[in-house]
């Protein structure tokens, strides 16, 4: 792999858009005969929300999983903060500050909020779990995200869909993730909860996170995002700036109507 060109004179370039936190280009991934991604491209900057849209089976979830280390891509390049990186497992992604909230959340239903926040990264003191510290921190994080939960000792299976989403997001934010990948964060939510979730995502943008959101709901996309990347049959067909487009154009690109 060739060495990436590092941009070293950022300070002098006042007014120029900052270098992307994350760039993924020419990403290819197949599952046996199924070519899930063939030439996918996406990038995101700090303090930016990029929507990733496309039809069912376009490869959105697969691209997210490649970036989060759940799948290995067959070919292509991923740059994080200008450096070429290889992401082979979820821990690699974590070390790079990339965190994912999956469509199905990957929460532990029988465990409480504390255990869910810390799963895989439990705090210990001489090998013994530091439960008090974890509980205190969990309370702090939950308050910070202005999330309303009955108690951090409630098993997640008793929480509503929106509360679960918030726990999943609190988990990744708490561990210092700067790049957030959200797969269909509003799909399972009611109208009110979905809007609360969008507010939470905007709140994360203000904290300078770089956020990629997969969504089917163009109204949600247009409410929160800065740019829209369209994926079709595993290829990125283009990226649109929100102010320069509208939903009919996005739909045409998703379905490929222009090409027919």
């Amino acid at each position: 792999m060739e060495a990436p060109q590092l941009q070293t004179e950022r300070e002098g370039d006042a007014g120029v858009a900052p270098e992307p936190l994350l760039i993924a280009r020419n990403i290819t991934k197949s599952f046996g005969h199924v070519q899930a991604l063939s030439n996918a491209y996406i990038d995101v900057r700090a303090g930016e929300i990029v929507a990733l849209v496309g039809d069912n089976g376009a490869g959105k979830s697969t691209l997210i999983k490649v970036l989060s280390g759940a799948h290995r891509h067959d070919a292509g390049e991923i740059l994080v903060r200008g450096q070429s990186v290889s992401i082979n497992n979820p821990n690699d992604a974590f070390d790079l500050g990339i965190a994912t909230v999956y469509q199905d959340l990957a929460l532990l239903p029988s465990r409480d909020v504390v255990a869910n926040l810390y799963v895989g990264r439990e705090l210990t003191n001489n090998g013994i779990l530091d439960r008090r510290k974890m509980t205190e921190e969990a309370n702090r994080v939950v308050r910070q995200l202005r999330t309303n939960l009955p108690s951090v000792h409630t098993p997640v299976r008793f929480l509503s869909g929106g509360q679960r989403q918030a726990v999943a997001i609190a988990r990744v934010v708490h561990f210092g993730a700067e790049i957030l990948l959200l797969d269909e964060p509003t799909a399972a939510l009611g109208v009110k909860e979905a809007h609360e979730m969008l507010t939470l995502i905007e709140h994360l943008k203000e904290q300078d996170k770089g956020i990629i959101v997969v969504s089917h709901n163009l109204a949600h996309v247009f409410r929160i995002c800065d740019r829209i990347t369209v994926l079709r049959h595993g290829q990125t067909v283009g990226t649109l700036i929100k102010e320069e487009t509208d939903s009919t154009e996005v739909v045409r690109m998703i379905t490929g109507a222009d090409l027919l």
């Binding site: 759940a70 979820p90 821990n91 974590f94 994912t100 999956y102 959340l105 990957a106 929460l107 532990l108 239903p109 029988s110 465990r111 255990a115 810390y118 799963v119 895989g120 990264r121 439990e122 210990t124 090998g127 013994i128 779990l129 309370n139 939950v142 308050r143 995200l145 202005r146 999330t147 309303n148 939960l149 009955p150 108690s151 951090v152 299976r157 008793f158 929106g162 509360q163 918030a166 909860e193 609360e196 979730m197 507010t199 939470l200 709140h203």
Partner: protein, 357 residues
């Protein structure tokens, strides 16, 4: 969520007395403890005045102890979303290997060395079967029910095969101490109350069980490994995505259960100084049922060490009560089955109620 901060209810660090009582009573361990107390009172009122009294209790403890060695790792395996039917076969295999090794090597070496060798061979059998179970389930993705049913039969078959129809009785005398030694006996002479309460007569297996219970509790509640067991059982894929090594958890769980079953066999061989291949019967059902009665979910993610301990107490209390009340022993299994049925039905009911709330 994300409502304005004045509307956010404070997290209930200090719940009021009533909700605290309700939460306490909703815990399986507390419910089970109440059931055990009521059961004891009823059995005593029913004519068995000595039930769990000062004479009966130490004997009761030493009867429960060998099963206790197995129920703890079995509960941990269940919490991690797995289970192991092979424990009876493993325990019997370990019994037979103990007898066989003694019969071959008695007199050829120092007695203490021979005992150490015998114990090591018994435990190795448990280690091997546990590792086979664990590797089959994690690496080959074999179904745990069928895998451990198969290894149960193989272990049991190997036990009868090695025994070859002979019963072995030529043990090193001091091998009995593994099950019979009473470590507090001398202390009882200095402190008469220990003798009065018969604590000084408690044999070694009670102390093995106490150590296993303590270790199980410590690992499950106070270490990352324990939380990873819960995580693995709660959602295997979700745990893995968060960096939990789920296959390692499962493999270690099966190995620990195999070792415990082998230890249970060694204790029985020592207790009986005899090594027939059918020494243990129904161990797997007893310990799985006990863990489930104690709140372990067959679907994983839930359960506790205390619950498993109380569940096993209950199983053995039913056995003792049947005998002490002079009821026909043949009905014992009916009662055990009915208790298990009730526990599972109760679980299903509380889950249904929670889901519709």
């Amino acid at each position: 969520m994300a409502v304005s901060s004045d509307k956010v209810k404070p997290l209930d660090d200090k719940p009021d007395a009533e909700s605290r009582l309700r939460r306490l009573l909703s815990q399986r361990e507390v419910q089970l403890l109440l059931v055990l107390v009521v059961f004891t009172v009823l059995v005593r009122a029913g004519g068995a005045q000595g039930f769990l009294g000062p004479t009966h209790f130490p004997i009761f403890l030493s009867q429960v102890a060998p099963d206790m060695l197995v129920v703890i790792p079995m509960a941990m395996l269940l919490i991690g979303g797995m289970f192991d039917l092979s424990v009876t076969g493993v325990a019997n295999l370990s019994v037979v290997l103990v007898g066989w090794t003694f019969s071959r090597l008695l007199g050829t070496m120092d007695d203490t060395l021979l005992i150490i060798l015998v114990v090591a061979i018994g435990l190795t059998a448990g280690l091997i079967v546990g590792a086979i179970n664990g590797l089959a389930v994690t690496r080959l993705r074999m179904n745990p029910l069928m895998t451990t049913l198969a290894t149960w039969w193989m272990a049991q078959g190997a036990a009868t095969g090695v025994a070859g129809g002979e019963s072995r009785h030529n043990f090193v005398g001091s091998f009995r101490d593994i099950a019979r030694f009473q470590p507090l006996r001398d202390l009882g002479e200095t402190f008469p109350f220990l003798q009065e309460m018969r604590i000084s007569t408690l044999p070694m297996p009670v102390f093995y069980a106490a150590i296993v219970i303590f270790l199980g509790w410590l690992v499950l509640n106070r270490t990352r490994f324990g939380w990873h067991i819960y995580a693995t059982g709660s959602d295997r894929r979700g745990a893995a995505l968060n960096g939990v090594n789920v296959n390692r958890i499962t493999l270690i769980g099966f190995i620990a259960t195999g070792l415990a079953a082998a230890m249970c066999g060694i204790v029985w061989a020592s207790r009986l100084t005899s090594a027939p291949p059918n020494t243990l019967g129904g161990l797997e059902l007893r310990v799985i049922a006990a863990a489930v009665i104690g709140g372990a979910a067959l679907t994983g993610g839930e359960g506790s060490v205390l619950g498993a301990v109380l569940g096993l107490f209950f199983m053995h209390m039913i056995r003792s009560a049947t005998i002490q009340l002079g009821l026909p022993v043949y009905w014992e299994f009916f009662v055990l089955g009915a208790v298990l049925f009730t526990a599972v039905a109760f679980d299903a009911w509380t889950k249904r109620r929670a889901d519709t709330q």
